[in-house]
């Protein structure tokens, strides 16, 4: 990386092994390499990663705090189980938080930022028509990310774009629960931007809530159908 000139303008963050391991674990869970419900054997995983158990355990503790992992004393660590109920809970919380974020954004966002958002949406419109599927992923995240960011509320930002988002990503990989709503989502996004442009907090919050609420209902149904299909397969 950065084979350019200069000394290397990269910030020397001096990440500790625990930080690295935490990220690797996180990615593994989110990517589905570690399936929900799966037991984690510390020694085995430590060997695979070429480290000792100490740092691994510390990384696990952190992810416990973020609810990606669950530990039972003297038994072991498991990847957090997924269920339609839990997904519904997550999205309800997200609805509350992002609704608030959008409300604040309506008062704080500059016109320049809103214009950027509109440009983003236009770019997304192309993806939708070409059904590249891109929009479902990072495109959607980008949209929500910018709104959260504009609040300037660090705590809120870290919840929406950090913890909560990671948790939701687990579901995305598990099945195609999210997505399949590209067109509707885009229209809802447009509505949100319109409210932001009008600097109308109430409308902005309502629009965001409706957007996430729709996603919640859609995801819930899709998840339950997928679960039913799984069950049928097992017969």
């Amino acid at each position: 990386m950065a084979p350019t000139s200069k000394v290397s303008s990269e910030k020397i963050v001096a990440k500790s092994l625990v930080d690295v391991v935490t990220e690797r674990l996180e990615d593994a869970i989110v990517a589905g390499d570690l399936v929900p419900g799966e037991r984690i054997l510390e020694q085995v995983l430590a060997n695979e990663m070429g480290i000792s158990r100490g740092p691994l355990r510390e990384a696990i503790r952190r992810l416990e705090g973020r609810r990606l992992l669950e530990r039972k004393p003297n038994i072991g660590v498991r990847v957090a189980e997924l269920s339609p109920e839990r997904l519904n809970e997550l999205l309800t919380v997200r609805e509350a938080l992002e609704g608030m974020a959008c409300r604040i954004a309506a008062t704080k966002m500059t016109d320049a930022e809103i214009q950027d958002l509109e440009k983003l949406l236009n770019a997304h419109a192309r993806d939708v028509s070409s059904s590249s599927g891109y929009y479902q992923q990072s495109g959607d995240f980008d949209f929500h990310f910018r709104i959260a960011q504009s609040t300037g509320n660090e705590f809120l930002i870290s919840m929406v774009t950090g913890d909560l988002y990671d948790l939701l990503r687990v579901y995305r990989y598990k099945s195609s629960t999210m997505g399949g709503r590209a067109e509707e989502a885009l229209n809802e996004h447009k509505k949100i931007v319109a409210a932001l442009a009008a600097h109308d907090p109430d409308a902005a919050e309502a629009a965001m809530r409706e957007h996430i609420s729709n996603a919640r209902i859609h995801a819930k149904r899709a998840f339950e159908e997928a679960a039913a299909a799984d069950k049928a397969d097992a017969s």
Copy 2:
């Protein structure tokens, strides 16, 4: 509990040392024994607790995930710093989450539960008139706790009554930022209960939001005044 026959029907939870240490640390932070900004020396603290550094470090990692502690690689661990901005951020998030909780409660709470809530309020009314100060503490918590609980949303509950609440408690001990609003708070609580009794989600959410918003504005002012006074003292 259960001093009856049989061997002992108590659940043997077998908490690990890390669990115990986590709680002790948490209490120490919340109680103000560990002041915000204070550096924590692992070896020293481990000696004081009579344990080794391993479990202590794991406990610290957990509290990092909950944002009560902050670690800089190769530097050390500090108790999370407090600031009016941060408090404001916290309470904004709380407003969003508890507002949502209250909305759901309006549809889910049974009439029996609502009556209990009313009883609770009457009991509180006495405390307020006798200015025992009790209400500011566990009484208020109890009220909010019951509403969150009634949603049945485990994730939401754990945020409101767990993580967020702990964070806020740090501020309560630091200064008298919270409180001094017993009478107003009681009236606001009454308004919330009325909305719940009417099973009106919109009104319930609005009442809870107003309640927390008032607390936020009050706390912000109190905190800033206290900070200003501290500064004056230093002269």
